[in-house]
Structure formats: structure tokens, C-alpha cells
């Protein structure tokens, strides 16, 4: 017996909507079993994980807070993924973005700088873009795999962050904690609502989503990127410059991650500290895939993953769920998504043995 995948003629639309939903259901079922095996009250855990975030304005606002960086980074990454440019080091570009943005308040802790906030956001974006640009340069000039280069660069970024926080940028009055000074008021992003933490970076992320939609689905540039991803030789044949596609993909994803990093220090953190590197860059890869790499799908998936984060927090309290359960959930979600996407996109064909 032999399995073969046969492409369904017109199932892309179905796959777009069906696959994530089916993956979510399968993930929930599997986690129920897993949690039960580990002696965690499974129903309670799922309730906390998926419903709690909607039950109070505060926790829902926390979902929106988490969603901003995830959405922004994932939109950038998805552009590259569709062009077969695998930037998996968004974490590093995020950190570099945060560092670049932090330079201004670190050097002007009293806030004596006009345009402090815009400068931070721009510096963060450019920093992330430049950091991703290293990978683009090495790929286009020498053919070095951007997968490994971006990954290595993000590991280096963590070390740069550590160096700055333990050395030159350490807050002199911070009891030796590895963190910078608290940022002055004019270095903080305006909040969207009173008394809760979401800030205008969510607007950035939604605007980025709209931009991504217009570019990838409606504009010739996006078409060129998609062509480069689906059939590199066809892109070459049509004369779409491959190096330009690589530069564009990495620049945009680096820019998005950098702005997200800047928004994190200028937003909920209010200073540069080690916990800025909490894995948004990696989680955004999952967000991008579960969103089917489509701009609107990613809006939905970033919301879902954010719900899981906040739900996970509350589940640790109410159901004794370990923090790591969120990672387990994410990992399963992506695995199941990859599975269901193929199952919907293709028919599994069973080759019958010849009956001699």
C-alpha cells in the first residue's frame, strides 16, 4: 500500500478557513487528554485558557496588548515566508529594535529631547531593518542561508542585550538589576484606553495588516513576491529581481519586528530589561503560519495566540496549569495546522496493490 497526495482542484479557500479551525479543535482535544494525564483539571484549564480572557475588560485588554507585537511581527514575517525567504530571527530584530529605541531615553533620561517618541520608533524600525539586512546582504552576496543567519543573529542579539544591561546601560540607581533607567513620560506610547495597558502600537499593527493586504493581494509587488516563493524560476523568467525580493522581504520583516521591539520598551515595559526577549519573535512565526500567511488570517491568529497567552496566565492560578502549557498548546496548534492544511488542500490517495 502506498500513500499519495493528490491536489484538490479548488480547495484553497476551504483550507484557508477550515484548517486553522480544525487544528484548534484537535489541539483542544489533545490538550484535554494531556492535561488529564498529568492530573490537571482539564475542563477548568481549558476554560481558563480560552474563555477567561473574555470575561473581564482587564484581561481582554491584556489580550490586545499582547496582540500588538505578535500581529506586527507576524505580518512582516509572512511577507517573507510567502516569498520563500525564511526570516526566523525576528526575535533578534525585535531585541535590536528595542535597544535602538532605548538609546534615546538612556542618553536623555530627563526627556530633554524633542520628538523623543517618534525618534525611538524610527530608530527601532531602522535598527530591526538593518539587523535583518545583514542576513539579506549575506544571502544575496554569498548565498548564505538566511534561515541560519537570522537565527544566529538573534542569538547574538540576546548577548548584545545582556552586555548593555549588565554594563554601560545599567541603571546606576537600579540596585544592580540588569535594566536601564525608567523612561521619561515623553518616551512612552500613548494609551488607547484609560486604566488599561494597550497602546497605539496596536494601531500600528492593524495599519501594517492593511498595508500587507494591499501589497500582497492587490499590488504587483506582492504578486512578484508570491511568484518568487511559489516558482523562483518563473520569477527569474519574468525578470523579477531575486535579490530585490530577498532585500524587500527581510527589510519589511525587520522593520516590523524593530518597531514592535521599540513599542515594547516604549509601552508596557517602560524601560529596557532582559524580559524584553520573551519569544515574541518565535511565537510570531506560529502566528504567521496558523494565519495561513494571509494578512487577515494573521489578524485572527494573532488574536487567538494572545488569548492563549493571557488565558495561560490565568490558568496557572485557577487550574494550576504550568506556564509551559502555553508553549505546548502553541506547538501542537502549529503541528496540527500543518497537518490539517495538507489534508484539506490535498486528497490522500491510497494506491491499491495490483491484484495479480
Amino acid at each position: 500500500m502506498k500513500l499519495r497526495l493528490v491536489r484538490r482542484d479548488a480547495a484553497s479557500r476551504l483550507a484557508m478557513f477550515g484548517a486553522p479551525v480544525l487544528a484548534l479543535i484537535l489541539t483542544c482535544l489533545t490538550s484535554l487528554i494531556l492535561f488529564a494525564l498529568l492530573g490537571i483539571p482539564a475542563g477548568k484549564a481549558l476554560h481558563a485558557l480560552l474563555l477567561k480572557p473574555f470575561l473581564s475588560w482587564y484581561s481582554f485588554s491584556e489580550v490586545l496588548l499582547k496582540m500588538a507585537p505578535l500581529l506586527l511581527i507576524a505580518q512582516g514575517l509572512a511577507i517573507g515566508f510567502r516569498a520563500n525567504v525564511f526570516n526566523i530571527g525576528a526575535e533578534g530584530q525585535f531585541i535590536i529594535g528595542a535597544i535602538c529605541a532605548s538609546a534615546f531615553p538612556v542618553f536623555y533620561p530627563d526627556g530633554n529631547l524633542p520628538f523623543m517618541l517618534p525618534a525611538m520608533i524610527v530608530a527601532g524600525g531602522l535598527g530591526g531593518m538593518a539587523y535583518a539586512g545583514i542576513a539579506a546582504g549575506l544571502r544575496t552576496r554569498y548565498g548564505a542561508s538566511e534561515i541560519l543567519v537570522t537565527l544566529m543573529l538573534s542569538l547574538i542579539a540576546v548577548q548584545i542585550l545582556n552586555y548593555l544591561l549588565l554594563g554601560p546601560w545599567k541603571d546606576p540607581r537600579g540596585f544592580n538589576f540588569p535594566q536601564t533607567v525608567m523612561f521619561p513620560g515623553n518616551a512612552l506610547l500613548p494609551l488607547l484606553f484609560e486604566n488599561v495597558r494597550p497602546n497605539i502600537s496596536l494601531i500600528f499593527a492593524l495599519l501594517a495588516s492593511l498595508f500587507a493586504y494591499l501589497m500582497m493581494e492587490r499590488h504587483f509587488r506582492g504578486y512578484q513576491l508570491r511568484t518568487a516563493g511559489l516558482a523562483p524560476k518563473a520569477a527569474l523568467y519574468a525578470g523579477f529581481s531575486a535579490p530585490r525580493m530577498i532585500w524587500l522581504s527581510l527589510a519589511l520583516s525587520g522593520l516590523a519586528a524593530g518597531i514592535a521591539g521599540a513599542s515594547e520598551v516604549a509601552g508596557p515595559l517602560g524601560q529596557l530589561q532582559r524580559s524584553v526577549a520573551t519569544g515574541y519573535g518565535y511565537a510570531a512565526i506560529i502566528v504567521a503560519y496558523v494565519g495561513g500567511l494571509r494578512p487577515f488570517g494573521i489578524v485572527a491568529s494573532s488574536f487567538l495566540i494572545s488569548v492563549l497567552y493571557i488565558g495561560g496566565d490565568s490558568a496557572t492560578v485557577s487550574a494550576g496549569l504550568p506556564v509551559a502549557a502555553v508553549e505546548v498548546f502553541q506547538g501542537m496548534l502549529l503541528s496540527f495546522y500543518l497537518l490539517t492544511f495538507t489534508l484539506i488542500r490535498f486528497r490522500v490517495h491510497l494506491d491499491r496493490e495490483a491484484t495479480a
Binding site: K2, R7, R218, T227, K233, G239, E353, A354, A356
Partner: protein, 499 residues
């Protein structure tokens, strides 16, 4: 007296999606015979071989070996029975040596295998250095390695899939001698080809396939090539009347001392290629693939940049260092030999595939795609060029080879090019569509376009070209007026006997 039937297929069928590749095939191969499977590209020959070799499994019907029914689940089952296969596109590993390649299939210590390779080489005229790395070997030598690898397993049946398509005429002669020696040793040979003369020269039995069905079982020596062709294509060989009375116009494409070093160990270096293509002219480039055709096409299209601007001139402009978009803007279009993945994106709709090269036809406004224009262009292309599928939203990957070729050719013709390059225009296209495609090309020429055709099919080139050049080991022959030359003369250039 009747020889024993070694391999018997009864009522074997195989279907891929909507395509019936093989339908109720009966086939009997006798020990010690050279049996031809004859058919056009796409007639189902390769599928049939995959079924016999256990790569694919029949939907229906049965296979028997020496009269006993067998199940071939995987190639190793076929190998165990004594079936060996020489693939059309060789299954050798470039970075390994000859001995290593052979030892992947043949048990034994490397030293023993090297000795066996030498012995076998002397016996059958298959000389090859056992320690050579495969990537350093010529195409002919690689084929010898493939054959040796099969022979060391002592096959009772040897399958050769289009073995001569990659060989120059002299090597074909050597191959035939080897095959006759094998036959004398009692090995049965299944010889797959669409070349009639070769089959008449070599084989003692032939099964003819058309559209996946058997249309004839004959002794090829007793029939003329014309008879065989009729069985193969269902009617007489089509002939296009070529009469180009018009005087060619100005030079539209000029290759000027075009030299280009090979990119990899596996590529071909181009040396001093010179060519003038004029308005109202069809020039053909003949030659066996792998002699620099791919490199030449990519250099003309701009997918590969020449080393100096003046090496490639289109419409009087030196464009050697410019990209494809620039060249297209000058009125150049190109139909590549690879349709899926190069000429078209398989996962995209036909409409989106129009956008690939026809975006200059008003499909964009401020960079945004105008779907309506895209759709109407595609619909027109489908009507004008008889592309048979559900509509502009059908994915390119779902089209048959012939339909997709018509679409790509149509798309490029609708751009109203001044200069067009067409590579292997009728590969894998059914005979009706092929004739239509050739007619289109002639029509374009008559309307003043300049057309360059790169093709392996000599007959095709003679049909449509005014002038023929031959590409051999990266060098281009002088132009031979098609009316004054013969297949023999072109053949001599093809093997490098003349320069």
C-alpha cells in the same frame, strides 16, 4: 519456433486523476528479443515502464513473469526478478564515483566491483573508468555506467527508456552493438522510443501505443517508417508547406562573439556564438540537449547576464547586461522549454499567470492589479489558442502539458513581439496541437516577426525554419539554409564531425 514469453502484461490500466495514462494494455516480451515500445510523447510509454519496474502500481490488470503472476510493489521487487532499467534522465549521483554509483545497486566489495566493471566493459564495449567521478563523465559515458550497473545484476530483461535521445549518432551505433551482444547472450530488451528508423534498425518486435492504448503489434523490420508512423499518430505525418518568399528585413537579434563560461561542472561553456536573426525569418537551432541550449536560451532571455553588453543585441540595442524586463520592453518574448515552474506558476490561476509577462498590457494601475483586464486577456488567449480548461481561474498546474504550452505560447504571442525565442515548442504536446503551434509560428513570421526556435526535433526544424544552425559543445555552426541542407549534413554537425 516460438520463444518463451518472459514478461506478460494483461489488461493493465493506470489512471492519474483525469488522465488515462494506460488502458487495458496487453504486452508480451519474449526471452532474447529486442522489443520496441513505440509511441509519441505522452502516449503512455513511460507510465507503462514504471508499472513494469514497480515504481507505480496498475489500477487494473495483471503482470506475469515466466508465466507466473507477480506483484511489483517497489523497484527492488522488479530487480529481484531480473528486471533492469536504464532511465531516460539518468539516476546517477554526480558527487560519487562510478564504483560507488554501481555499488549502490550491486552487492560486493568496491575492488571486486571495479574489476567487474572492467570485464563487462571489455565484453560489451562499455569502456569507462571505474574511479572517475560521475560529474566528469560525458552523457554517453554516463549512460554506459547506467547500463553496466543494470548488467551487473544479470538481468533477464533490460528496459531502456528513450536511450538515444541524449546520444549523438555515433554513440547510438555503439549502443546498438552492445544491445545486440546482450541479445545474443539471451537477454530480452525492452526498447522505448519514438524514433522510427532506430526501431526498424534494431528491434524484432514492436508494440505501438497511442493515447494509452495499444494500436499495433508488428515486426518493425517488415514495415516502413511511414506505416509505423501511421500507427503511432493515427494518420499520416503532417506536413506544413513552408514557403517563405518574403525577403527578410532588418536584424532584430544579434549574438556577437557570445562566449560564456560554464556555471557548474555540469554546464556547458559557450564559445564565440554568432547569429543574426532578421525580421520575417525563422531560424532554428538544432542539437542534442546538453550542448549549451539552456545556457544560450537564458543568455538571450536575460535570465543569465552575458559578460559584455554587445554580446547580445536586441532591436539594435546592446542588452547583454540587462535583465529580462528590459529586453521584453524592447519587444522580445520567450517561451521556455520548462512550462511548470518557469513559463507558468503551477499554483496560480491562468489569469495570474497572464500577469507574469503581460503586465504591461494595461493590467496595472499605479502598481495595483486590474483583475478585469487580467481576466479578459486570459479569456482571449484561451479562445484564440484553443486552451481547453474550465476558465481563467483554473490553476496552471491542473492543465495538461499541451494545453499549458498553448497558453504560454498564446500569452507570449499576444504581446505582439518583434523578436521571439521559443525553446522546444512541441515537447510533450499531442500531434494536433503541435501542428497548430507550428502553424502559428509560421503565421507570425509572415507577419514580420523574427523567431528563433531551439529544438531537439530535427523534423520540426526542417518543417518551420528558413535557416538552421547546429549547437555542439557550446559552439554554433554557420547557418544552413533549410531548403539546401539535409538531415545527414545537420547530423554531421550535431556530432561535431563538421564545424
Amino acid at each position: 519456433m516460438r520463444k518463451q514469453a518472459l514478461l506478460t502484461l494483461s489488461g493493465v490500466s493506470k489512471r492519474y486523476g483525469t488522465v488515462q495514462a494506460n488502458q487495458a494494455i496487453d504486452l508480451e516480451v519474449k526471452s532474447g528479443s529486442i522489443h520496441a515500445i513505440l509511441g509519441e510523447n505522452g502516449a503512455g510509454k513511460s507510465t507503462l515502464m514504471k508499472l513494469i519496474y514497480g515504481v507505480e502500481h496498475p489500477d487494473d490488470g495483471s503482470i506475469a513473469w515466466n508465466g507466473a503472476p507477480v506483484q511489483l510493489s517497489r523497484p527492488s521487487d522488479a530487480q529481484a526478478l531480473g528486471i533492469g532499467m536504464v532511465f531516460q534522465h539518468f539516476s546517477l549521483f554526480e558527487t560519487l564515483s562510478v564504483v560507488q554509483n554501481v555499488s549502490l545497486m550491486v552487492p560486493g566489495r568496491p575492488a571486486e566491483i571495479a574489476t567487474k566493471i572492467g570485464d563487462l566493459g571489455r565484453k560489451f564495449g562499455l569502456v569507462v573508468d571505474p574511479d572517475a567521478m560521475v560529474h566528469t563523465l560525458s552523457v554517453g559515458e554516463r549512460q554506459r555506467v547506467e547500463i553496466i550497473r543494470c548488467l551487473l545484476l544479470n538481468p533477464k530483461l533490460l528496459i531502456l527508456d528513450e536511450p538515444t535521445s541524449v546520444l549523438p549518432p555515433q554513440s547510438v551505433k555503439l549502443l546498438f552493438e552492445t544491445l545486440r551482444k546482450l541479445q545474443a547472450e539471451g537477454t530480452a530488451i525492452l526498447f522505448i522510443s519514438h524514433k522510427l528508423e532506430e526501431i526498424r534498425a534494431l528491434c524484432d518486435e514492436a508494440t505501438v501505443l497511442r493515447d494509452g492504448k495499444v494500436t499495433g503489434r508488428v515486426d518493425p523490420r517488415a514495415h516502413s517508417a511511414r506505416d509505423l508512423a501511421q500507427m503511432m499518430i493515427g494518420r499520416d505525418m503532417p506536413h506544413l508547406a513552408v514557403s517563405n518568399s518574403a525577403q527578410p528585413g532588418e536584424v532584430r537579434l544579434r549574438l556577437h562573439n557570445l562566449s560564456h563560461p560554464r556555471a557548474t561542472q555540469f554546464g556547458t561553456t559557450l564559445t564565440d556564438v554568432n547569429l543574426d536573426l532578421r525580421a520575417g525569418q525563422v531560424i532554428g537551432i538544432a542539437g542534442i540537449s546538453g550542448n549549451g541550449q539552456q545556457e544560450l536560451a537564458a543568455l538571450i532571455s536575460g535570465e543569465l547576464r552575458a559578460r559584455k553588453p554587445e554580446m547580445v543585441q536586441i532591436m539594435g540595442q546592446a542588452v547583454g547586461r540587462r535583465g529580462p524586463m528590459h529586453r521584453r520592453a524592447l519587444g522580445f518574448t520567450f517561451v521556455p522549454e520548462e512550462r511548470l515552474g518557469r513559463g507558468a506558476v503551477p499554483e496560480m490561476s491562468l489569469a495570474d499567470n497572464s500577469l507574469l509577462t503581460a503586465h504591461g498590457q494595461g493590467m496595472l494601475r499605479g502598481g495595483f492589479i486590474k483583475r478585469r483586464v487580467e481576466q479578459s486577456f486570459t479569456r482571449r488567449c484561451m479562445e484564440d489558442f484553443d486552451v481547453r480548461t474550465s476558465g481563467p481561474d483554473a490553476e496552471a498546474g491542473a492543465l495538461s502539458g499541451g494545453n499549458l504550452q498553448k497558453f504560454i505560447l498564446g500569452r507570449e504571442i499576444m504581446l505582439a513581439p518583434d523578436v521571439m525565442l521559443v525553446s522546444q515548442p512541441t515537447w510533450g504536446v499531442d500531434i494536433g496541437a503541435a501542428t497548430a503551434i507550428r502553424r502559428r509560428l509560421i503565421e507570425m513570421r509572415d507577419n514580420g516577426a523574427a523567431i528563433l526556435v531551439i529544438s531537439e526535433e530535427l523534423e520540426e526544424l526542417f518543417e518551420i525554419c528558413d535557416i538552421l544552425h547546429v549547437l555542439h559543445e557550446g559552439r554554433l555552426s554557420t547557418g544552413l539554409p533549410a531548403a539546401d541542407t539535409t538531415a545527414e549534413e545537420v547530423g554531421a554537425y550535431m556530432i561535431g564531425a563538421r564545424l
